[in-house]
Symmetry: C2
Subunit: 431 residues, 2 copies
Amino acid sequence: MSQENASLSSTPFSTQATGTRPLRIALFGFGTVGSSVARILVESRPEGLELTHVFNRNVDRKRVEWTPTGVVWSEDADAVLASDVDVIVELAGGLDPAGTWVRHALEAGKSVVTANKKLIAYHGVELERLAAAKGGHLKYGAAVAGGIPVIPGIEQGLAGDRIERMQGILNGTCNFILSKMETGAEYANVLATAQAKGYAEADPTEDVGGFDARAKLAILMRLALRVIVDPEEIVPQPITAVTAVDFSYAHDLGCTIRQVARAEDVRGTVAATVGPMLVDKNSPLAWSRGTENMVILTGRYGGDVVFSGHGAGGHPTAVAVVSDLLALAHGSRRVAIPSLPAKIGAEFEVPHYIRFFVKDRPGIVAEITGALAREQINIRAIVQKPGYPADRLPFVVTVEPCKTSALKRALASISQMDCLLEHPLDLQMLE
Amino acid sequence: MSQENASLSSTPFSTQATGTRPLRIALFGFGTVGSSVARILVESRPEGLELTHVFNRNVDRKRVEWTPTGVVWSEDADAVLASDVDVIVELAGGLDPAGTWVRHALEAGKSVVTANKKLIAYHGVELERLAAAKGGHLKYGAAVAGGIPVIPGIEQGLAGDRIERMQGILNGTCNFILSKMETGAEYANVLATAQAKGYAEADPTEDVGGFDARAKLAILMRLALRVIVDPEEIVPQPITAVTAVDFSYAHDLGCTIRQVARAEDVRGTVAATVGPMLVDKNSPLAWSRGTENMVILTGRYGGDVVFSGHGAGGHPTAVAVVSDLLALAHGSRRVAIPSLPAKIGAEFEVPHYIRFFVKDRPGIVAEITGALAREQINIRAIVQKPGYPADRLPFVVTVEPCKTSALKRALASISQMDCLLEHPLDLQMLE
């Protein structure tokens, strides 16, 4: 038997195969996701997994009767970290104290499963190194797109391709808001509904500002495009400036509007952005409604692969967590293709939708088109729908693919015009 | 360190990590997929993989200049199997001799990566046992839905859920034909086009008869529903009886027609079928055009997850093969949740679309509806579009959810009617 066959033939670390005791699991956080994880462990009893500890602040407020009697409920994080648990499931979110707990667990040679996109986006590389050095494992399938197996899909099923482009609907709150606005509602009303339903936070900035999607995009870029970028380099555009008027104009252009996170690796230079964009009504991105998430990966060899499903919510996210726990219990290992540090050094050259609100007077179109022409930007269409008041008249210019920087210069100049009531809204058009 | 931590902390078998030589790979079959696999290995040079042998009948006809100089080209299968290769990539298809090669390789402790859906559908369980007994591994991510990572998605990303239902567009040939017919073409013409483009075989029975999709469904049922079924128990309905008239009626019902492979596990009883079905125009299944594949899995906890992409073709299938090879090289192991043998013991209770071709005379509707009433089947709608000749008049009855067996009895009785020009076409309607 060859040396390689020798390693190929080693038995997996499956608890079934080796007869070791189950993985002892500590949940750090018993909110919606934590209690869903516990619920699946109790109801489905996946072999090889045992819930032994629950940590939460004011844990008595959280305690439930339906978990196994042996479970230790604790509000002492250090005590749980010092216990004989094998895996910490970190569901607290945010950089701290979650990051401290994760580091302590990994330093002790334990494994960590987390749904914490922010921690993984900002510190994932360092934490993976720490895990490898100490003999533990770090898994974060729940950090991006909740119950949709995008991360295992990339790591296990698309490792043989070279992914060159990705487009994703990665924030369920924004998708809920925009797909509701598509049916005629105004932003403020839909946001209030989303907050009432628990889809949006009281302060929605993280979601509507694009920061949540940006963190997830950075994680997917590392896995799919194999580039390590600083999430702060990705400048998000908030969805807050999109109005019902824009959906009406988008409709006339055969499009709708979605918050899209996109990244490309074009001959070694990386472009990435997050924001509301016009997407063709026939594109998969337009199918995504409500709090759904979707990821489209374009491989050099395999072409487009689309994943969609529930990107958030207790149960879908818990499925990703339990799947990661099972992968640990079964000895499944990442197919870890190295990623390289990269700068975001390219701009997308795509068509743009630009919507102006003006106080009407003669000569506006001439001035705007003149400013675009000075930046060598070609106009594709000028659309002005009837029925709007002349003292707050919306109209739209779409332009042929151009550099974002050139368009920004043109719009800065246009913004000086006296007739302009607000800064124009500039959205990328995906084709 | 605990016993469990000890196993968790073992290093993966990655060739990078252990410094062993790369996996030595023999391609069995150098057709479209085989040459695409070689192309990716040569162009992308994934670390840890080395193409060393190519087996094909009349291999000189296949030999290319762009593979590494050391590659052994052979038409002697036994010699390649007896060589020091670590992994056989079986791309010949069919049960034999492919099955013999795979068994020989596994018996020798080698691993096998295959795209052979038939072999895996009929003999997968036995071959996986053989692999486990001999210390090798069997991977078949390419056997279902080509470049779409459905199998890794299920095994790695959805292991924590309980999948209760699946619906798939698993045959690109049928999807090409039906999505072309949607635009008005007749079956025979579209089939001829598909044959000219290489999407359909000279004898298209395997595809249009539903046998190909049935094999893939049986594989996905094993992994997703965790039931082992004999593929022969799944009775496929061919797409050949679907006509342009049906697309016209389907359109009026807000639907289109797709070949769907579906299975459900309802309280422990399994239902499964493959055939042309009416799908809602707003359903993801209707989005799928051309040779695309799509799989929708419904989990008890995670809800619907949709995968779509290129289900066939050299490059997409090769991506799945190379990904499986990388998983072997990196020591990634299946999260193998046990599957149990099951009988297909349930029928779908769904609405049906029934299309009749009749020579018109008074009383037809009364007789047909009477026959349905005798089986306690409720009518949902009767649709007769104008503009068809009275001596070959198509009309459609849709019925509320009912047992397939009851409907079959009613249709057998209706088929005796003198006015009926052919056996009615009965299609499930997916809701």
